[in-house]
């Protein structure tokens, strides 16, 4: 998508450069593609219109044509603007150290509040807090059981009372937290529609009683055009202090983030990236901007890689890359590193251009194991010098690994093109080289 956008812009602007002058119409032409990208990402229609108008003005003022790559320059203007918007009002959460801190989570049904309560409690416990979870959802079937189970699995206490109203539970839970010396109380509330007057009044009363330090709106990254109306109403009733965007581990582009930010102007704080309690990350505006534009989340990918790759190993490999002595044995070790990073599909989803097109079905996790088996059936010499693997050897390896000769052929061919890619890469800078190397390792 991103490359597609950039390419289109290149041709638009190259054409213009012949004329030596950029006009409003030229910008408008390019802007239509931006608009399309944003709408496909579920940014609200009105927000798209406003955004493209603002950026058009900026782009007209920016020196695009004198750039050698005007298309890229134009994308940069759009991207920078988007990233700046996404990071609007950014702030770090600061809790008091001398008293109980109170956090309330609210939002539509099924957006991920209860799960996120557990995630936040865990996140802040890691920073030295003593969290208490308070179960104020008396509405949804088995909501208390859900929070109880989560609390138990994390050994974080849960305050609940099946006989009381949400407001009473909230009051008593907070009193309990004070008494017992907790430093943080995370309050779960029932999911509700913003047009449900009774439920909104209940939430308002609960917030008035709790006087939260943070009031988070929990929104689903898959949300469509209506996200703006919902966020606006919640903000009007309970004055939100931050937004948490859940289910970002999916392949949605998350344009609702921009819409929500635009209408209520409170910062995005966290993103949910999994169902388990450790699936919470800080929000990074640049990453979100590239995701919305369809540029993929290469930064997260690289970070994830860095987290999991053994640094020493990587340095050794990098040297081999450079000297082009990378062998099949090294490749095998590389594969095993990748396997440690988690399901392949999760990683692939972060690569630009791959994420949205790739359905789970296309990624064959078993392919990795097959490659592993093939390399394991080779002798040390063969792994070092794949050139010597002739027809006879191929047959032997295929028998040993339970694969076909075609599979072996394919592996060797892929390995070959990977090596030549590495040679080319060595001429590029190292950071970009690393990215490209990572990408080249997913040929299957």
């Amino acid at each position: 998508m991103f490359e597609e956008l950039t390419n289109r812009f290149e041709s638009i602007f190259k054409k213009i450069r012949g004329q030596g002058k950029i006009s409003e119409e030229n910008i408008a032409e390019a802007m239509r593609d931006v608009k399309r990208a944003l709408l496909e990402a579920d940014v609200n229609y009105k927000v798209v219109k406003k955004f493209t108008a603002d950026v058009s003005a900026k782009a007209l003022g920016a020196d695009i044509l004198s750039s050698i790559t005007p298309g890229q320059q134009f994308v940069k203007v759009v991207y920078d603007e988007l990233a700046a918007l996404m990071g609007g009002n950014a702030r770090a959460i600061r809790f008091h150290t001398n008293r109980l801190n109170i956090v309330v989570l609210a939002g539509l049904q099924g957006s991920g509040k209860t799960t996120t309560c557990a995630k936040l409690a865990l996140h802040f416990r890691k920073q030295g807090h003593r969290p208490l979870l308070i179960a104020c959802d008396t509405h949804r079937v088995a909501a208390i059981d859900q929070l109880d189970t989560l609390g138990k699995s994390l050994e974080i206490p849960v305050f609940s009372d099946r006989a009381k109203s949400p407001l009473e539970i909230c009051r008593e839970g907070l009193a309990f937290a004070q008494r017992e010396g907790f430093s943080l109380a995370v309050i779960d509330t029932a999911g509700r529609l913003h047009i449900d007057a009774d439920m909104m009044a209940e939430l308002k009363a609960l917030c008035a009683a709790a006087k939260p330090d943070e009031t988070f709106f929990v929104a689903d990254a898959m949300a469509g055009q209506d996200a703006v109306n919902v966020a606006k109403e919640f903000h009007k009733e309970i004055k939100l202090s931050g937004v948490i965007l859940t289910k970002m581990d999916g392949d949605s582009r998350g344009g609702a983030a921009l819409s929500i930010l635009d209408v209520i102007g409170v910062p995005l704080q966290f993103i949910g990236v999994g169902e388990k309690p450790d699936g919470l990350e800080l929000f990074y505006p640049e990453r979100m901007a590239s995701r919305i534009l369809g540029m993929g989340d290469i930064v997260s990918l690289v970070e994830k890689a860095q987290e999991n790759f053994d640094l020493e190993e990587s340095k050794k490999l990098e040297k081999k890359f450079r000297k082009s002595t990378f062998s099949l044995q090294d490749f095998l070790e590389q594969l095993r590193q990748i396997k440690k990073m988690g399901p392949l599909s999760d990683l692939l989803a972060m690569i630009p251009g791959v994420g949205s097109q790739l359905s789970g079905a296309d990624v064959d996790e078993k392919a990795l194991s097959r490659i592993e088996a093939m390399i394991c059936s080779m002798t040390a010499e063969e792994r070092d010098r794949p050139g010597i693997i002739d027809g006879n050897r191929r047959r032997r390896i295929s028998l040993g690994s339970g694969t076909t000769v075609q599979d072996i052929n394919k592996l060797l061919k892929q390995f070959d093109s990977m090596k030549s890619m590495m040679k080319r890469m060595n001429k590029i800078g190292s950071r970009r080289g690393q990215n490209a190397a990572l990408k080249s390792m997913f040929p299957y």
């Binding site: 529609l193 913003h194 469509g224 055009q225 996200a227 169902e275 790739l358």
Partner: protein, 305 residues
């Protein structure tokens, strides 16, 4: 206020916009006219591609049938939309016992609640219903389904948290045959369609069901949240590829989302919308009628055009 009135209400502003665009158009259909229509369709989450396609078809209708008045153009658009939504309905009959319904979808869309509502509906029609708790992953999921089973007086089959969901499905198949159950509804854990391992788990569940009873599952319902944007298309594509979806359930239509994604879904996949969810209670499940939905979505044009 009923659900269709609420939808209508939500779109009042859009209709006024269209109306003013139409009044400026002085009988001819210019860009302003089509832009206003496109706005309305996109704001309803119908999506850019489907909207563009609808408008292209409307243009050729207008030219081909010599439509001259805005009101007639509007009616033509409604017919097109309803046509896209009208996919052959599934049979409501179920001679083979048990009739097995597998309910799937991404996280938090309303699968378990929809199952509770379906159990209520089948129960009221005099069917013997059983619910199978094949979501063994989410905290509190088994408990939640159990309460729905109690409420609707349905039989309930479950294993402990963390058990293999396919094994729960197998148990439920066996139990439903042994107890002469009419309808077996299987709950599954929410899963994002880009998670290969979870999608594989789903195919395994289906394999186990089929091995037990080749014609089952008789229905595979993909539950889609009406507030969802364009990602619903990815959801439908992947779930359909992997286990074959027979119907959609669009939930949470009691909110202010227009659920326009239903149009894009029906049009792209030719799979019918089986039910719509309009609240959290057991009775908040309705049949889907394309014509009245489109009527609610677009309404009548205000008089002053």
């Amino acid at each position: 206020m009923n659900i269709l009135d609420r939808l209508k209400d939500g779109l009042k502003k859009t209709r006024t916009q269209i109306a003013s665009a139409l009044s400026g158009a002085s009988g001819s259909f210019d860009d302003r006219f089509y832009d206003a229509l496109e706005d309305a369709l996109i704001l309803a989450d119908i999506g850019l591609e489907t909207s563009t396609d609808l408008i292209a078809r409307l243009k050729s209708e207008i030219a081909g049938r010599g439509i001259t008045t805005p009101a007639a153009a509007y009616a033509a658009l409604k017919t097109l939309l309803a046509g896209d939504l009208a996919v052959t309905k599934l049979p409501d009959e179920f001679p083979p016992k048990p009739w097995v319904i597998l309910v799937v979808g991404v996280n938090g869309v309303g699968k378990t609640t929809t199952i509770g509502k379906l159990a209520g509906e089948f129960g009221a029609a005099g069917k013997k219903v059983m619910l199978g708790a094949a979501d063994t992953f989410r905290a509190g999921a088994v408990e939640q389904l159990k309460i729905w089973a109690q409420r609707t007086k349905a039989d309930f089959v479950f294993q402990q948290d963390g058990a293999d969901p396919a094994s729960v499905a197998f148990d439920a198949m066996e139990a439903s045959k042994a107890r002469g159950i009419d309808v077996l509804i299987l709950d599954t854990a929410g899963r994002l369609q880009n998670k290969t391992n979870l999608m594989n788990e789903l195919s395994k569940i289906v394999r186990v069901i089929k091995r037990n009873l080749p014609q089952a599952p008789n229905e595979v319902l993909l539950v889609v949240d009406a507030t969802t944007g364009q990602n619903a298309l990815n959801q439908a594509r992947v779930f359909n590829e992997i286990i074959g979806v027979t119907g959609f359930v669009i939930t949470k239509l009691d909110g202010t989302s227009k659920g326009g994604i239903a149009v894009a879904l029906s049009k792209n996949f030719g799979i019918p919308v089986r039910k719509i969810g309009v609240g959290e209670g057991v009775d908040d499940l309705q049949n889907f009628d394309p014509v009245s939905y489109v009527d609610a979505l677009l309404g009548d044009l205000p008089d002053r055009v």
